[in-house]
């Protein structure tokens, strides 16, 4: 119970002030398109040079917590996912916002984030030594199978046609191979200088989600505002709490998926939200409502991506290996103060280590409180005329994708993908599987190549990829996931007529 002992330290005036600053700053940075949590934390590192180690880490811990949740704001209100973690949130969250339920979506997302986040931090506090072994268990062959498992999710994710979902996924996987190949350094498919560095995930995300929405607003033309006045529903926080409590399955699936996936180095943060969304959809009694502004979608996605925050730091704090890019940046924040993370961290620097963890705990609560406050203000976004909205989203998309790495090429990629995606969507393809392919492609490829290199030098490819309980467990889950999709496709065919499918499409904006 060491963490309770050091809890006082969080509440000294300076520390608490920094915690507030980190939380509010983190929410703003997180909501800025193009600024992923990793970038946001990296931007704050120079500020910590001036501070005591403990204070610096409080700032970073609070910022990490709230940037992940802040990404939900732009995802819900503008349909611009700030980072891969928030993709799944756009699917139902933005639909809710266009229906005037923006306040509800934001409240649900912050409450779910807090629940998931607290669970994740408690895992970090109580189970770190056990979890550290789990984080090491995933070698190249396991990561390869895990990526394949992610690919099997593609077909059932946010698409009314499994074939088109898979095709969207393939397009994403192909886009991911453009540029230099990560291991050999060979150039592939470089047909324009803008893609010579490969397709950066964040500008691609912005383009694929935001631009089709801008064009959809264009298609409405100059018609009168009265025709589509959306009633902005006020939503008491009490009801949001009840709603989250009622959706236990989604909350539990999101939290557990996020915690488990968050542990796996290099994969976690990016796909936790999408995998949790897909699982929640499969287990839900109302799975057909997903994608039409259903509260379970938001709850599962957001609880997952905040639950991953705590566990993602396990390998860093115990083994001194950063498991995610953000953890790597936090490592820098520790190193500049001469603190080396490792098994001795909690013995040598208990005050720093425990205060850091406590600050994430309290940060989750503060983030939730501020978030609920913002939710009330931001709900009126549905009342913004579509002409203004289109122009705002377009401007933010351009600035956001440029700022990722100060590159004009990224802006061109963003716009081209976005324009293409609009037309693809009109023909039944969807952006979520495409993005999942884009994220999983490099993970699958790099681990396959590394695994085969190790295998060729030792036991051979066959036994390397097909022995060991973890490999088989993952293979079995892959097969189960595929058969589930096939079964769903066949089962649905019996009663899904063309009209049903079209009706579902029409329900979407």
């Amino acid at each position: 119970m060491d963490f309770l002992f050091y809890l006082d330290d969080v509440f000294t005036p300076i520390n608490f002030g920094l915690l507030l600053l980190g939380t509010i700053g983190g929410l703003i940075l997180g909501a800025t398109p193009g600024l992923s949590p990793t970038m946001a934390v990296a931007l704050l590192i120079p500020f910590t040079f001036q501070l005591e180690p403990q204070q610096g880490l409080i700032l970073l811990g609070a910022a990490y917590t709230s940037t992940v949740a802040g990404g939900a704001v732009s995802a819900i209100l503008l349909k611009i996912p700030g980072a891969p973690a928030n993709i799944a949130t756009t699917l139902d969250g933005h639909t809710m916002a266009t229906k005037g339920e923006g306040a509800k979506a934001l409240q649900l997302s912050f409450l779910a984030s807090a629940v998931g986040g607290l669970f994740g931090v408690f895992l970090l506090i109580f189970l770190t030594p056990v979890l550290a072994q789990w984080a090491l268990a995933f070698g190249p062959s396991h990561l390869f199978w895990l990526a394949i498992l992610g690919v099997t999710v593609i077909g059932t994710l946010d698409s009314s046609s499994v074939v088109k979902g898979l095709l969207s996924g393939c397009i994403g996987l192909w886009l991911a191979t453009i540029g230099f190949d990560d291991i050999m350094g060979a150039q592939r498919f470089i047909f324009h200088p803008a893609v010579s560095g490969g397709i950066n995930v964040i500008p691609a995300l912005i383009g694929l989600f935001a631009i089709p929405q801008v064009i959809t607003m264009f298609t409405k033309g100059r018609h009168k505002a009265e025709a589509e006045v959306i009633e902005v529903k006020r939503h008491p926080i009490r009801l949001a709490i009840l709603e989250v409590a009622r959706r236990k399955t989604a909350l539990a699936i999101g939290t557990l998926t996020g915690s488990i996936i968050g542990l796996i180095p290099g994969v976690g943060g990016q796909i936790a939200g999408l995998v949790a969304y897909d699982q929640a959809k499969k287990f839900s009694k109302e799975s057909e409502k997903f994608g039409t502004g259903h509260s379970e979608g938001v709850i599962a996605a957001e609880s997952a991506n905040n639950a991953m925050v705590g566990p993602s730091l396990v390998p860093l704090l115990t083994l001194s290996i950063p498991g995610s890019p953000t953890a790597a940046v936090l490592l820098g924040g520790l190193l500049i103060h001469g603190i080396f993370p490792g098994p001795d961290l909690f013995i040598n620097y208990p005050q720093v280590a425990w205060t850091f963890i406590d600050s994430m705990l309290i940060g989750q609560l503060l983030m939730c409180i501020f978030g609920l406050y913002i939710a009330g203000l931001a709900a009126s976004v549905a009342r913004v005329p579509h002409a203004v909205m289109a122009a705002v989203v377009l401007g933010l998309a351009v600035f956001g994708s440029y700022s990722v790495q100060n590159s004009m090429g990224d802006v061109y990629v963003m716009a081209s993908l976005g324009l293409a995606m609009y037309f693809l969507e009109r023909f039944g393809f969807s952006a979520a599987p495409l993005v999942l392919g884009l994220i999983l492609g490099p993970i699958a490829e790099a681990n396959f190549i590394q695994g085969s290199m190790i295998a060729n030098a030792t036991v051979g490819v066959g036994s390397y990829f097909f022995t060991g309980w973890l490999n088989w467990l993952l293979i079995v889950i892959v097969l189960a996931s595929v058969s589930y999709s096939v079964w769903m496709e066949i089962a649905q065919r019996r009663y899904t007529t063309k009209d049903d499918a079209v009706a579902k499409e029409e329900a979407l904006p």
Partner: protein, 154 residues
């Protein structure tokens, strides 16, 4: 319920099938072969699925996707043209802030339903544009220190 626009589906899936086939062709012909193992795998699946979708479209058995109606096309065209000029030319040639301000204002004027004849409408549009630009400048230039291309003014 209207019939799905079959011709549009044939055209769209045809384009995708051509892209899929091209990608597959490039993957199987480029060197070094080692670096193209994974692209070969992906592009094969890509090409097969794309051709399948194309065949389904030709047979008129596409189930999802409503295509683009003529009215929607007419409405979006001016906006699309402004967007393309803004992103692919003006942003770099005129500088980010100048180009964004102009594009923002033009889009607003094109799609804002308020009557063009009144002075009030125009003042409102200018004010909204100025407000948006102020937020962008504060956020990206002052807070995040992003140096965007600057040509005309800033």
């Amino acid at each position: 319920m209207t019939e799905l626009p079959r011709n549009q589906h044939i055209l769209a899936s045809g384009i995708i099938a051509v892209v899929g086939a091209t990608v597959a062709y490039i993957s199987f012909t480029q060197e070094p072969a080692d670096a193209f193992i994974f692209p070969r795998l992906i592009s094969s699946v890509f090409a097969v699925l794309a051709v399948w979708t194309f065949i389904k479209a030709v047979m008129g058995r596409t189930k999802v996707g409503n295509g683009v109606s003529a009215a929607a096309m007419r409405n979006m065209l001016p906006g699309l043209i402004v967007t393309v000029i803004y992103i692919f030319w003006a942003a770099k040639a005129l500088g980010f802030y100048t180009a964004t301000a102009i594009a923002f204002f033009v889009l607003l004027s094109l799609y804002d339903p308020a009557p063009h004849g009144q002075l009030r409408t125009w003042i409102k549009r200018v004010l909204i544009t100025a407000g948006f630009m102020a937020v962008m400048y504060g956020l990206f230039a002052l807070l995040l220190n992003v140096f965007t291309p600057r040509e005309v003014f800033f």
